[in-house]
Subunit: 290 residues, 2 copies
């Protein structure tokens, strides 16, 4: 397989939108980015984010929030966008992703609110106390399939997440310290760390960061929970254009309470820059493991 590039890759093709009229975009939700048959939230955010980037005068999502109203299935979709405010450095817009049932009923699946800017126009100053995640070198981290196969060899069912079509599109290499869940030995800590890339070798760009913040297995798995962890709301801040090469993603959950948990993600590039931060509120559909 030839090395894919930004603009010519699975991710670009599967997040493409076609403007039908001002503020109305046709899209096709790909079956390639699903988990348990529903499109991944980060993938949908990237697709909607692409439509908003076309509508608004600025190219990059500085802060983007999605509320997931229901599962989005592979197939045709419409993205309706509205420009809310245009300023010199930032513009704000809103979008809805809708799907039409066989009976003609249109249902909204995702509602998005975002402010866009131009990352390339920002000054280079940095003052940071954030540290890149302590994660072993890429070659010491296991791909998902390795974890799955190990579990299978030991007579366990494949880990739930491994059924995901999504995992075929990604090159996610989990830190062994947060991969215990895959072999039935979760650490009990709500942490997930991994190297993250696209399977076809496409380098990251701002839209791919929206995928990266929601692409790791749920932290709940390392907390000993199994099942489905649907996102209620996800907000991502894109802080810098990522350098080429694999990203490091670190996701932490501190508080599972009242049936909800937060997942805080950081994304770091090969130049040790914090390129994105996100937080999501999710509601695990929980069964205790074991």
């Amino acid at each position: 397989m030839a090395q894919a590039t930004i603009g010519n890759s699975e991710f670009d093709r599967d997040t493409a939108v076609t403007r039908r009229e001002p503020g109305v975009y046709e899209a096709r939700v790909s079956a390639g980015w699903t988990v348990h048959g529903a499109a991944n939230g980060g993938y949908l955010l990237a697709l909607i984010g692409r439509a908003l980037g076309d509508t608004l005068p600025h190219p990059h999502p500085f802060t983007i929030t999605a509320h997931y109203l229901g599962a989005t299935r592979p197939g045709p979709a419409l993205v309706r966008t509205t420009a809310v405010r245009g300023g010199r450095g930032l513009s704000t817009g809103q979008a809805s992703l809708c799907q039409t049932a066989p009976d003609g009923t249109e249902t909204e699946r995702v509602r998005v609110l975002a402010s866009y800017g131009d990352l390339d126009a920002l000054p280079a100053d940095i003052r940071t106390t954030a540290k890149p995640p302590a994660i072993p070198p890429y070659e010491h981290c296991a791909g998902r399939n390795e974890g799955r196969d190990r579990g299978r060899d030991e007579g366990r069912d494949p880990v739930p997440d491994a059924a995901a079509a999504l995992s075929e599109r990604l090159d996610v290499r989990l830190d062994p310290a947060t991969a215990g869940w895959a072999v039935g030995a979760p650490s009990g800590r709500g942490e997930m760390r991994a190297w993250f890339g696209l399977a076809d070798g496409r380098d990251p760009d701002p839209l791919a960061l929206l995928l990266a913040v929601d692409a790791l297995p749920p932290t709940a798995f390392e907390m000993g929970l199994t099942g489905w962890v649907p996102t209620v709301e996800l907000t991502a801040h894109v802080r810098r254009r990522p350098a080429p090469g694999p990203l490091r993603v670190c996701v932490v959950t501190r508080n599972l309470a009242g049936g909800y948990l937060e997942e805080d993600a950081e994304v770091w590039d090969t130049q040790d820059r914090l390129v994105a931060q996100s937080r999501q509120l999710a509601r695990p559909v929980v069964k205790r493991a074991g």
Copy 2:
């Protein structure tokens, strides 16, 4: 002054909204909750949040995001709400706060997207690794006015934030370890911790948490920056109904880059429960202190 109560307090009166027709609410932005003449973002979020709570079938903002489009001034305002989706446990809505100029032009100041639920319907389970902030007892923390007066005694100008009408409405007692900025000696760390209450003694409720997450002096002050730190976007998760009594609020900034910074806030109640989390993206209008 008699002890104020939930439903009968300055905060309740100044965030009140009157339904004019379905989805349209009249409000009056009070001069009492301003900083440098512009209404505080958390106060506006509480006011808009009250209108959304009236529109939606659920009472409490589980996750609420505001994009601040421009400064909101004291005076009349309209809040327009739309119900996006209603579900069994959660409903999603959107709102805009608008003000009308003397020439009749209506300008949108804040756009909000939120999902509401019922905190009182959640199970009591908690699994948390989050720890309450290490903050000295209430009586050892200084009120804002004390810091300001100390600065004045030493011949410095009043600290910028002390000019805020907002500070009269709040009982904010800063941890001395994060109050150096008020006497010209910022720590250099992007942290701010305080006890937080309403000046009239009203106990906290879910709407007051929306105020609490945006009511401390900017972390940028402790990083040695002065000036105005307007919020681009703020997302708050309300995780639990707060117990009566003062809250502890801890705000941390890790990354100031490209002219933007994040402020992550946690709010804890008197029962040592994490009752709210928030993150905002802000863009300091910076001049170096000293």
